[in-house]
């Protein structure tokens, strides 16, 4: 187990380096630059700005400086918001996305897994079809439609909840619901598929033959394996929600990660783009590693080597 973890962590280093390199040259290859405006910036000011951020140096020098910065987890100041370090921006926005995404994922699991199990147990009954129809609708309705509809109903018509902004517990409800819906539906479908496969296996028949109640068979024996597909989905999904959702964050004016990532790319805010990309890559790899570890606990047949 320890050697497994050690090897995986060490493997992350070259992967991150490759991503850093690719991202650096891609973002620098994109047309335009960080100091552009429909109104011309005076040539002198532009030259000074380029000099200030070292953008007047040869590309390979900038690349090396970038790598040494990355090694120290220092991405430098944002070009767009020069009074702030990229590190600070991430540190401020991450807890918000973590909270929003955390609640959404939790809600998705708490609602989605039981629906999936129920549908699998009642396969091909009305209950199954109804559950899966709801899940299909959840997956199909894009959140840029769902969010505004919820706002219209619950904020602007009933005045129960604030329509946007991240202030106080009530403000969490609509963004969490909007973000969670697609995940609920997806997790329900994954659970159903996983359960159906497990329920056909020999050890389930053995359990039933032992005279265990259907309840124990399903909840204790089958569900542990049946939710494996969900577990492997949770890893990347968690990384994704932590990086924020541009759509949900814009609709509800949430100060999370998503708005930064998209806008930084538009603005050619090189340092912020690279900081966010590397952070996301690191997060994704770490969570995938955690998923692999979780597998050994859920499925005794899996061994880490």
């Amino acid at each position: 187990m320890v050697t497994f973890l050690l090897r995986r962590v060490l493997l992350m280093v070259p992967t991150l380096w490759a991503i850093a390199t690719l991202a650096f040259f891609l973002v620098r290859g994109a047309p335009g630059g960080p100091f552009q405006s429909e109104k011309e910036i005076p040539a002198i000011a532009r030259a000074q700005l380029m000099h200030k951020y070292g953008l007047d140096q040869p590309l390979h020098v900038q690349y090396l400086r970038f790598l040494t910065g990355v090694a120290r987890l220092d991405f430098g100041p944002s070009y767009k918001f020069p009074s702030r370090q990229v590190r600070e921006i991430i540190a401020e926005a991450l807890p918000v996305s973590l909270e929003l995404g955390g609640w959404a994922l939790l809600l998705a699991i708490v609602v989605g897994v039981p629906i999936g199990i129920y549908a699998a147990v009642r396969q091909n009954t009305t209950g199954d079809f109804a559950a899966m129809a709801v899940a299909l609708a959840g997956v199909s309705i894009p959140n840029f439609v769902l969010g505004p509809v919820l706002v219209l109903a619950l904020s602007l018509t009933l005045y129960w909840l604030p329509p946007a902004l991240w202030e106080g517990p009530q403000s969490r409800v609509l963004p969490v619901l909007t973000l969670a819906t697609a995940y609920v539906a997806y997790i329900a479908r994954l659970t159903r598929a996983g359960m159906l496969e497990v329920l056909r296996q020999d050890f389930i028949r053995t359990a039933r033959a032992k005279g265990l109640s259907e309840r124990v068979v399903v909840l204790k024996h089958a569900s542990k394996l049946g939710i494996l597909p969900v577990v492997s989905f949770i890893g990347p999904a968690a990384a994704r929600v932590m990086m924020g959702s541009i759509v949900v964050e814009s609709i509800f004016s949430v100060p999370g990660m998503g708005r930064y990532l998209v806008n930084a790319a538009f603005n050619r805010d090189y340092t912020l783009v690279l900081g966010e990309v590397l952070f996301y890559a690191g997060l994704l790899m770490t969570l995938n590693l955690l998923v692999d570890v979780a597998y050994t606990w859920l499925d005794p047949r899996v061994e880490l080597a």
């Binding site: 405006s37 005076p42 505004p148 219209l152 814009s250 100060p255």
Partner: protein, 594 residues
């Protein structure tokens, strides 16, 4: 004057709820009892005044820099204006200069020397005395080349300021700013500048706290570090969320500041902005933050305000590329545009159709006749260019940065050119960075652009078309035009000057590389209980004397806006006001592409 955003913001297609909400606008709502109040007086959403004296509004897109010496964007300026005050400050209604940090001033007879006398006992929000030398230090900070201030050019009327800014002289004593004692600032200009007192209220001219900058470096603007001299101080800031300002008890006119605080939310989604207003979470949505498709519906409400905004939306033609090097082709393209159909039809009267390059609203300036829709003449021009009936005319392309409105307008123009001139047009939308690179490098046929004025004078719209100007971006060069613009700059008589500029504009419209399309408008929502916010063509709003009227219903019947903040009038007395004449004021350089 910056005209577009460095930031094409992602607009989410969340118009659905708002439109539905508007459609159902008359339906009885649970809480806002005033939705259908007192017969005809309808307001958009909740009109319950807040219990505290705090103004909550949508500040707009997240400001980039609110260090006033370096700031350049529209929302940057909004924050700077709340926190800082210059020698003069603008009247909320007319934007004319009123005494600010200086309570009186003298101008020499040749118009070259301004002597400002600071109010006695001025101090920063941390209690440090504010002296004339703070102004000198701050202005030199703007000019220092290493600080790369984008608006350093606004200081160029000052003697030797430009040379110092360009690094041609390193001697700060040569710059025409002197502080002979703590309360006197003497400014020497390079040439008489009738609008200089308008400049001294612009945020590039405000003093910045030397003591805080020395202590905190470029982090001095953070809450806790920042020290300011205006009516408010910064209490809290969270990026992509909000700014909280508190009343500054050390402000010289604090006794007349009635707001205890201001909360500026940074909301860039237009529908969210309107939703928050409707729900009564914010009291004011400044222009530019309402979805354009909602404006026809919002017009019905009493708290909606519409007016002219100093900006023109136009298409730029790259005259370096054939067939656009032929002036008859450019004329043909111009005459084939039905501006009325775009502004009134497509955009549902949210904009004014406009055939001139300079916007309206300059007293004394008479526009040359604007370009009109004339399909017959358009075809004649194209025939004269050698393409009768569009024969032999190559396929051309319209470039625009990705946005729903830009696309709809481009599609309309594509259809007009096809129907009138029988020419093939393709559309090419690009994300912001690529679009700007194509524009600057003259890699385009026709490109969407917009221009927002810096100060109230037609010159701000015409000077950029001279040969080689960084904002020309069309390759157009006309010696007679260049001569007229230079002649106007030297002309002291305002009537003659406007006549020269009028001639220049006529020439630009006849031969030029531009296709004006519409005139920008301000569209804003202000709750009826908010007093002291006025519509104006620069969209600049001093908030010092704004107040919340909890008894607004009783004031509503007569003239709702007759009520003025009592403090505003007091503040205005006290010094020789305003330079008469040209009346130019630098604006909140707006930083949005519409």
């Amino acid at each position: 004057m910056v005209s577009a955003p460095g930031t094409p913001r992602c607009r989410i297609a969340s118009c659905l709820p708002l439109l539905l909400a508007l459609g159902a606008g008359c339906a009885p709502a649970a809480r806002p009892a005033a939705e259908v109040a007192a017969g005809h007086a309808r307001y958009f959403g909740d009109v319950t005044p807040p219990l505290d004296d705090v103004l909550r509004f949508n500040l707009g897109a997240e400001p980039e820099i609110y260090d006033p010496s370096l700031a350049a964007g529209q929302t940057d300026g909004r924050v700077c204006r709340i926190l800082f005050e210059g020698l003069t400050h603008e009247d909320a209604r007319t934007l004319e200069p009123r005494p600010g940090q200086a309570y009186r001033w003298e101008t020499s007879t040749d118009g070259l020397t301004y002597t400002f006398h600071l109010r006695p006992g001025l101090c920063w929000s941390d209690g440090t005395p504010l002296t004339a030398d703070d102004f000198r230090w701050s202005w030199l900070r703007v000019l220092k080349p290493e600080n790369a201030a984008r608006y350093a050019g606004l200081l160029s009327p000052i003697r030797n300021a430009e040379a110092y800014n360009h690094g041609e002289t390193a001697d700060s004593n040569a710059v025409g700013i002197a502080a002979p004692d703590d309360s006197t600032l003497v400014v020497t200009l390079a040439q008489p500048t009738a609008y200089f007192l308008y400049l001294t209220q612009f945020y590039t001219y405000v003093p910045v706290p030397r003591q805080a900058i020395a202590r905190h470096g470029n982090r001095w603007t953070m809450p806790g570090n920042i020290v300011s001299n205006g009516a408010f101080t910064l209490r809290y800031w969270r990026q992509n969320n909000r700014f909280e300002f508190a009343r500054n008890p050390r402000y010289w006119d604090a006794a007349n500041v009635r707001l205890q605080g201001i909360v500026g939310y940074t909301i860039d989604d237009l529908n969210t902005s309107a939703n928050l207003y409707k729900a009564g979470v914010i009291d004011w949505v400044p222009s530019g933050y309402l979805p354009s498709q909602a404006i026809p519906y919002l017009r019905e409400y009493r708290d909606f305000r519409h007016g002219n905004y100093q900006g023109v939306y136009f298409y730029s033609i790259n005259v370096k590329r054939p067939p656009f090097d032929n002036v008859w082709v450019r004329r043909a393209l111009n005459f084939a545009i039905d501006r009325d159909a775009i502004a009134n039809g497509l955009l549902k009267r949210s904009r004014e159709p406009w055939g001139n390059m300079t916007p309206s609203g300059y007293p004394g300036y008479e526009h040359p006749p604007g370009l009109r829709y004339d399909p017959v003449r358009a075809r004649e021009c194209l025939a004269k260019a050698g393409y009768p009936g569009g024969k032999g005319f190559r396929k051309i392309s319209i470039q625009f940065n990705t946005s729903e409105d830009h696309r709809r307008i481009a599609e309309a123009i594509q259809a007009m050119w096809k129907n009138v001139l029988h020419i093939q047009v393709e559309l090419s939308n690009q994300e912001w960075g690529s679009f700007m690179q194509g524009l600057t490098g003259l890699q385009y046929d026709i490109a969407r652009r917009s221009w927002l004025g810096d100060y109230l004078d037609p010159n701000t719209f015409l000077a950029c078309w001279i040969t080689g100007d960084g904002n020309n971006r069309s390759g157009w060069s006309n010696r007679r035009y260049d001569g007229l613009i230079r002649q106007a700059a030297r002309e002291i008589d305002p009537v003659l000057r406007f006549a020269i500029l009028r001639e220049a504009e006529a020439l630009l419209l006849d031969e030029g590389p531009t296709i004006p399309v519409y005139h920008y408008s301000t569209n804003e929502l202000v709750k009826p209980y908010v007093h002291g916010i006025y519509q104006n063509p620069l969209d600049v709003h001093p908030l010092n004397y704004v107040w919340i009227d909890r008894d607004w219903r009783n004031h509503e019947a007569g003239a709702p806006h007759a009520l003025a903040a009592p403090g505003a009038e007091d503040a205005a007395s006290g010094g020789p006001a305003a330079a008469g004449g040209a009346g130019r004021a630098p604006s909140a350089a707006a930083a949005r592409a519409h």
